[in-house]
């Protein structure tokens, strides 16, 4: 059964002519992980903010449907949003150091956060959750100031606080981008385990394909505010169809193969106002791409918003 259903979500920020997010649709089942990949300006953080009711004032959001755990989020009062955020949805953000007030001991901040969520009782349980996420001495950690702990430790505490009330959905926006690769691997492993243990659904947002490929069951690839490709992780990142997804995968340095040769980098280009958003950078561009918005083409478990890409893909496989 799906926990989250989003149809045709569009967001405009105040004073902006072009949408930050246009026509995004996706679904997430209980206990599954959805990866959202894209570069700066692709709209991936807007997805997180919209789902959490955290869009700045003046932003306009519309959709034909947004449902979370059976609640219709579209005509829900602010109070109800708040209640849902406290009970069903939790967030972990990118920079563990900036997430905490540097002048106060963590215990005070954690208690404040729990109290604000009306869950002061959860404090005792937090200690065991902290141990669960790999903090051996929770008392000592909570007695510290943020600068006394490493980024990895702080991110573990953020995760524990987010999960202490057992939300149904955790939205993690670049949760490991500020961390070292070994610490990153551990945090991802913790998220992976918790998901299984707690039947948690996870939305993981990242520009890093390796992060998404490690955790996600399904992937949404975003560019210029659109979802350009969607499907099971193995399909999308294993046999990508959209030229943007292909370009992204090809441009990452690998641990095997040739070194000191040019990487197949994608061309420059602004996000196009008309037609396909990726057209300015695309090597498969056709005349129509510049004029008409590509329609999603069903493909395997998801879709691809690119005709020429789909044709090329089919040709390569026949």
């Amino acid at each position: 059964m799906s926990l989250l259903k989003v149809d045709d979500l569009t967001v405009y920020y105040a004073g902006e002519q072009s949408p930050a997010l246009k026509g995004a649709s996706f679904e997430l089942d209980h206990g599954r992980t959805l990866g959202v990949v894209g570069e700066s300006g692709s709209g991936k953080t807007t997805v997180a903010l919209a789902l959490g009711g955290l869009l700045p004032s003046g932003a306009k959001m519309k959709a034909s449907r947004i449902e979370l755990g059976g609640h219709d989020l579209l005509d829900i009062s602010k109070r109800k949003w708040l209640h849902l955020r406290r009970s069903e949805v939790a967030f972990v953000f990118q920079s563990p150091v900036d997430s905490w007030n540097p002048t106060r001991v963590l215990r005070v901040q954690v208690k404040d956060a729990l109290q604000a969520a009306g869950r002061s009782d959860d404090y005792s349980r937090l200690v065991s959750v902290l141990q669960r996420v790999g903090i051996d001495d929770p008392d000592r950690a909570l007695g510290s100031y943020p600068h006394q702990l490493s980024g990895g430790m702080l991110q573990r505490i953020s995760i524990a606080v987010a999960l202490v009330h057992e939300p149904a959905l955790l939205i993690a926006d670049e949760p490991t981008s500020a961390l070292d690769s070994t610490v990153q691997a551990e945090i991802l492993e913790i998220l992976h385990e918790l998901r299984t243990e707690a039947n948690l659904s996870l939305v993981i947002i990242s520009h890093d394909l390796s992060v998404v490929s490690r955790l996600a069951d399904e992937v949404v690839v975003m560019y210029g505010g659109r979802v350009v490709e969607r499907g099971e992780t193995e399909d999308v990142l294993g046999l990508p169809v959209h030229p943007y997804t292909r370009g992204l995968l090809a441009s990452v340095p690998k641990l095997e193969g040739e070194t000191r040769t040019p990487l197949p980098a994608m061309a420059f280009g602004e996000i196009a106002d008309q037609g396909c958003v990726f057209a300015t950078r695309c090597d498969l561009r056709e005349e129509t791409c510049l004029r008409t918005d590509p329609l999603p083409i069903e493909h395997k478990s998801g879709f691809v918003a690119c005709g020429p890409g789909m044709e090329k893909w089919s040709k390569e496989r026949s």
Partner: protein, 313 residues
């Protein structure tokens, strides 16, 4: 035989003193040949950026020596600091923060030429245009301020600034970590192209093994202030010898199939003060490891390793 351009001999740097002392760099010996790219890889706190700062003269070593072109850097910086800075230049991690926010792109690239008294105004303006085309920056951007640039464009400005004086050595400290994946590839390609065409020597620092591997001829892996393994880049990644290098390779392996059992738990609670610093995280650790710190030993294939269990790795 290729000429050594830069050499450090047992360089150490400690910050703070007594109980709070942080031994950021401990007896690091490196060498860099003409036209070579040396990759430095390690996690935050491993000392890689301190090594960069020591080479650039931003920090002074407590002990050990650094020489460039056979000349001791300590004296050089005292006698002719400007000449030294013409030889060695740097590009850092945060491209926009690295630029003076109140200056325009044209001036930012011209500035090193002015400071070092190169050419007439007319010649400098021409040189700025050449540099901009070398780093593939549109001339339209001449009058922009740093905040009007994308991260990738700003990093190109930083690279142009660094190249303005035609340095022999370029130090790149995490130059692509703050950039989007598609931009990373463009900047890496640019650095590779410039390094090859100028026969520049480069020290390339990153926490990402795949990025370091892509650009480097040789790689040195740092942990807790020392080099734990060094060797030819591809070879080192293909067959890591030190357990820490192995951990880095595992952590970087990205396929979804090996998501289970990635890394053993780390103990962030401080490093050992003696013996091998990697003991708390090491699968091979035995009693001998805590008793003394192993030496960096050269083995057969131009590979050096700091590990007591050299035979079993």
């Amino acid at each position: 035989m290729t000429q050594l351009l830069l050499e450090t001999d047992a360089v150490s740097k400690t910050f703070g003193s007594g109980k709070n002392a942080v031994h950021a760099v401990r007896e690091v010996s490196l060498s860099l040949a003409q036209g070579e790219v040396l990759g430095l890889v390690g996690e935050s706190g491993s000392g890689k950026s301190t090594v960069a700062n020591l080479l650039l003269g931003i920090e002074t070593p407590d002990s050990g020596s650094i020489s460039v072109e056979g000349r001791p850097v300590g004296n050089w910086l005292k006698e002719e600091p400007r000449v030294y800075r013409e030889v060695i230049q740097a590009v850092f991690q945060y491209p926009i923060a690295a630029l003076d926010s109140r200056k325009r792109v044209g001036w930012l690239i011209e500035e090193p030429l002015v400071v070092h008294g190169r050419g007439t105004k007319k010649q400098r303006v021409a040189r700025v245009k050449d540099l901009m085309s070398a780093v593939q920056l549109d001339e339209e951007l001449l009058d922009r301020f740093p905040y009007e640039l994308s991260g990738g464009q700003a990093q190109r400005v930083n690279i142009a600034r660094a190249l303005a004086l035609e340095p022999k050595i370029l130090i790149c400290d995490e130059p692509v970590s703050a950039l989007d994946v598609s931009v990373q590839a463009q900047i890496l390609n640019l650095l590779l192209e410039l390094q090859t065409s100028h026969q520049m020597s480069m020290i390339f620092i990153s926490h990402s093994l795949a990025v370091v591997r892509h650009l480097s001829n040789r790689i040195a892996v740092m942990y807790a202030g020392t080099i734990v393994e060094g060797g030819p880049g591809r070879d080192l990644v293909d067959s890591p010898s030190h357990p820490y290098t192995e951990l880095l390779v595992q952590a970087a392996a990205s396929s979804s199939s090996n998501r289970e059992g990635l890394v053993s738990t780390i103990s962030p609670e401080g490093l050992p003060r003696s013996g091998c610093r990697f003991v708390p995280r090491c699968p091979l650790a035995t009693e001998v490891c805590s008793n003394g710190e192993p030496e960096l030993v050269m083995n057969s294939q131009s590979r050096s390793i700091r590990c007591w269990h050299l035979d079993t790795t």
